[in-house]
Symmetry: D5
Subunit: 150 residues, 10 copies
């Protein structure tokens, strides 16, 4: 089958190796690129096309070759595949959807009417929240409500 993402997949592997080799954390890279943390990781790992200027800056920071820098700017096929669901860190989010999916749906419709939260005009943020019983992961999803309309 055609591997529609061949060049971006290779770029993803190159970026991951480069980050592992570098002294920079994702947080620092995001700061250097002046972009939000999760957007930065997602974009450099293949979920968003990276604007040329940012791709070049990332190339300098991570010492990426030119092909990789170009590949980062390509429009990706966002096809993550189901196997990621098995990873325990990622699975917990799927489990939340299984447990709270209908409740999210009911709450959205009650508050906003018939429609959806956009996953396109949307941003996601992950922070640490300190807590005496153990620090907590705090994820904020903020998406525009879109009303069903003809």
């Amino acid at each position: 089958m055609t591997n529609w993402n061949a060049t971006r997949d290779q770029a993803t592997l190159n970026v991951r190796s480069a980050v592992a080799r570098s002294d920079s954390s994702w947080a620092e890279i995001a700061e250097q690129l002046d972009r939000p943390l999760l957007w930065t990781i997602a974009a450099l790992l293949g979920s968003h096309p990276v604007p040329a200027e940012l791709a070049e800056k990332a190339g300098e920071l991570l010492d990426l070759d030119e092909d990789t820098v170009l590949a980062l700017q390509e429009q990706p096929y966002r096809i993550a595949g189901d196997s990621l669901k098995d990873d325990p860190t990622i699975y917990r989010f799927y489990e939340l959807l299984a447990v709270y999916g209908p409740a999210l749906k009911e709450a959205i419709h009650e508050e906003f009417g018939d429609g959806i939260m956009s996953a396109i005009n949307c941003n996601v943020e992950l922070t640490r929240r300190e807590d005496p019983d153990g620090d907590r992961v705090r994820v904020i999803i903020d998406g525009k409500f879109l009303k069903y309309q003809w």
Copy 2:
């Protein structure tokens, strides 16, 4: 195959009908039960056992029969099934995981080390955020970080 959730599934249908018939919104029910909104919807629709006192209060509010009030207190099998994923309102959250799953994983490990955000010691909140370009759905997930440890 054994329907492990037979009594709770029936209770879920009864609750939904009762809410539709009643004048109460989920928000009002949650307020009456003095519990968070999403917890209230999820619990009454089968994702959590409802403590006896709350089940009875819900029974009064929604005019539920006694079997339903008892069923709400049962320990559920939390098996939502894959078909819910197809609903557009719910699908957008799955799509976010497909697009941002690896980024969430990288960010968690960079900030906290090897481990997961608990989906058990965790709460989820949904609110409306006003915005001149169209109001936004804001979902906050807040779960305890759990470190892999032997």
Copy 3:
């Protein structure tokens, strides 16, 4: 497993029987309700909540019982299931997506940039186009472009 759509599914069966029994075509029903054809069919068969006034009007036209009229107003779970894909009339549309999916994607990104055609702020129209070599089915999908944005 919870049948989240129990009441709307029953309403769908009732509507289909009523349409079969009635002398009205879908086109006439749509005209009576003053709504587009595909919206009307989709809504009465379970894909959209039907506003109270229209539900009552449909109830009169099709001689539906009161429970059905109420059920039509419920917010549906839009979970069609995969089995519909096998129907030859419906399958042809899936085949078009398999054959032209990547071309649609490339054309959208080239013309609009990174984003999607909304399936929510969207309408679909089906008409007959006369042709000497055999009349043609003409389907027009018209959805708002949504740009990926944080």
Copy 4:
């Protein structure tokens, strides 16, 4: 398993790289080949055999090697695979079929009788429709009606 499309898949990757490297847009390539936009993209990316003359012209425009030019003329196996369904831009079309599939079927049968819209004698067009509330993607599918007949 036999990769029935081995040579065309390679050609698809080569074409995508060549388009990325070139200064031509798909729209310009289509114009040069004097073929409709979506047919051009689909054919060059593996969904249709490309007539020899067009393949050679495309080869010149995009500076493709001879093997690729020959491969474009091969009869393809049109087997896109399910993973494309996950891409958000493509998924929206699948969602429309899930939501409006039965309505499309009912409307076709009411208007034309028992049969299908051909996906073979069929063309698809994608244009931008300007709109003050945000420009819209307009997709027109136009296929010959085929009646079930023995």
Copy 5:
């Protein structure tokens, strides 16, 4: 999930019981209806809408109740499901497609060019062919060639 075929499925069960109770073979029923054998079986078991006159004639022959006679005239959803593939008598045909599928495709394209054999403008015939080494099942599929065309 909505059972789109509820009335026709019930009719199928009724027809099968009626045929089992009756003294008529499918061959005799087909002859009485003056329709080809496989069309007759397929239509009465739910794969084709049965014209009113034929449905009534079948109703008389098989002593079907009025609801069944009406249901036979409904437009079916042709959704057989995958489980039939497991039946050994039916499986042999699937196996032939697995073994000879690519050869059928190559032969069609070599003889007719790019296109398909229609499964809509198509008929299927099954006869016994006597043979000293054991009689043979002879299936003839005859479908119009449809050329890919825009």
Copy 6:
């Protein structure tokens, strides 16, 4: 996972390239080998072991290397995989089985009793049938009836 067909898969790719490069059609190759058309295509593309003499003759006709000639004689694993089902030319045959599968089964049992049409002692033929309304693909399947017996 072990690729049980590694050498035959490679031979299949080599044969397809060789046929594309050669001036011979499948029909001519079949004539030269003095074997039926579909058997010839199927066998050379991996569905049957090719007798040594025929393999060598095919090797000469198509200028195949020695390894390929040897591989053609190997006993294949006939494991086509499900992805071929998506190809529109092949899919139409699957659709016929979905629509007429139960009818084929009923007709076989009525005519022959309990048993199957063999897919092993069986041959398949594809020809063009001229027709003023458009030429037709005619496929004849002829398999020995096998009775269930202990």
Copy 7:
């Protein structure tokens, strides 16, 4: 979806209850019917049509109602479904096929040439073989070899 086996499935449940209530073992029933053990169980549980005389005899032995006796004579759809594979007693046979499947295939082809062991002209026998280290289940499958032939 049509339940093609509705009457035989009901008969299977009735037979199982009747055997449980009766004092007869399957071995005794097989002896009374003068048929092999596994054939008898398989046929009475829905895998074979039961000849009228035997069905009536079984009806007397097990005190079955008339509908069940008639249903036993129907031609079944042999569609066991995948869920049986999970039963540990049945799974061990599937595991043997996973572990020894290729070896069975190689041995058949080496000894008999290209073809298969028939599953239709075939019988299966299960006996106890005494052994000082623990008695053993002995299953003998005996099927006619069928050569691939055109």
Copy 8:
């Protein structure tokens, strides 16, 4: 995904090529190794670790390189994958399980009580049984009965 069987898979391909090149049949190889036929094929093709002495003897017989001889001694992951099920020669055994699975289960429980036939302490034998109506494949499975016990 990790290919847990990487070295054994390579060894399997090497052994198959070597057997094809050699003048030895599996029967002769089994005789030389003084092991049962099916065990020998299964073990050399990756289903059992081969004891060092036998692996070396097989290496001499088939002229295998040292890496292959070592790989044969490795403990395999016995993960055949589902695709083998499609091969017609192997499928017939799966079909027998679908048709006779419940009968095998009932017969085992009636004769032995609650438990299973071991697939570990088990051997499988395949022989030719001559028959005037056509020779037959005879497979004998002989496994220790294991009682469910705590």
Copy 9:
């Protein structure tokens, strides 16, 4: 499809209701039956046939009707289905197998040689282990090692 477990599934529902209504905990029931805790729950919920004496005792303890008491003694089909895997409490065990499966396999083979831990001659125990950092669930699986042998 035949519901092979129809009577035991009904018994499972009855037992669960009875336990919910009763004042007895599973621990007390197990003690009364003088059987291990997990065996008792598993057997009463359908995973083991319950010996007549114990079934009757359970019937008295839980006030079960006679049909249920008889059904408990039936040999079950142990076919749990995949949906249970989604329940978070049960999923954690599946996750452990995904994370530690290969390690368990390597450790078994290193310590015991080629073979398996029996799941038939095996018992499972669950206890609470007190711990100042939070009490722990302790599950002990104890199964006989079975060596691969012919």
Copy 10:
């Protein structure tokens, strides 16, 4: 699709080869690293990031190259894939979950209330337990109970 584990997968293959070549058993390696047996195997085969000091020590013991030593320290994607479930040694554990899953769930909730056994704060131990009827595999899972809480 992106192979998120590319470097760790390669490291796993290298470690397995190195262990096979070395004279060390997993037990000895674990002892040298002063870590529990199953943790050691799991971590070196890709289920846990290995702390730098231990990775280097393992590198010396097994004569691993530097890239492998670095790869061992990477955070893995724990995505084992479903194919491992087919291996008989691993399958027995899955079978235990199918047979005892609901019983484990009931016992956990009765003893601890609503929540789960953590698979993160959890350790697993495998030992040999001598037994005159055949030695036994003893697996102890010990995980912290986590209560559902908001």
